[in-house]
Amino acid sequence: MRAAVIVFPGSNCDTDTHHALSHVMGVPTDLVWHATPSLDGYDLVVLPGGFSYGDYLRTGAMAAQARVMRAVREAADRGVPVLGICNGFQILLEAGLLPGAMLPNACVEFRCEWVHVRVETRRTPFTEATDVGRVLRMPIAHGEGNYVADHETLDALHDNDQVVWRYSDAAGRRTAGANPNGSVGDIAGICNARGNVVGLMPHPERCSETALGGTDGRLLWESVLARVAA
């Protein structure tokens, strides 16, 4: 088992994600430079959070053009689990590996706080070890997490069971106050049709240790590790 955490210019959760995978979960993990042409040999690819290219123009737009993205696409086609966290999610959207787009938060401010999300499906490698309806407490930290997509896309996401997490309150209810950014359908994370490419706004690497105030992020890692080991 070997994991890759991609480093784009401006990624800033790369070392945190590396820390969570390697030091907390004990997974051999490499920081992989954005100009790398191939991701052969990796069983898990993570696009970390941050501000690739300063978030200039549009979040994730320039990183989506990086050389490594061709390799990410190939890995995804091979069925390798790919996780985009926050900016990584935005990059996957811009690269067309996931459908839809991001707008600025409805409050038009950056939000760094703990939120709750409800697991909507177990069909992804990152949720298969949890239960549908389970509520996770995780931090967010973003200015643009307001997910949008047109009606056909939303219908397709729904029909194909591609919504992975929705914002909710601690009890799993979708209330207005529980959605921190105005995303359509309270969507916090989605996957591709095959289920192996997943993007989410909350940061599992920030809640993988007790000292940081929560450990629900470990559920994602444990789930994907079990899948890869199987």
């Binding site: 549009r58 737009a61 053009q65 959207l93 839809g100 707008l103 600025p104 409805a106 047109d150």
Partner: protein
Amino acid sequence: MSGLPQIYTAHVFVRLKPGVNDPQGATVADGLRDLGFDGIRDVRVGKIVDVELVAPDAATARDRLQSMCEQLLTNPVIEEYELELIEPQPLKLSDTAW
């Protein structure tokens, strides 16, 4: 046949597609109302990308700009754009920055 390369200036006006909601625009509208401006019906915020480029002729310049818009400058999922190409200034010998 194309002559000497010239400097083209282009304005790319990028706007959110009509149906896409615009949090920034809504906030600006609220801000204007808070300041006491009456009669604000709608505000939407877009982007201008001004590009200066050297190309052999206007057709080539326009082609390249169109590709730039499609490949990077706009996201067709949520945005639409207009491209305005300005008459070129001739390139002076001293302009060697490119």
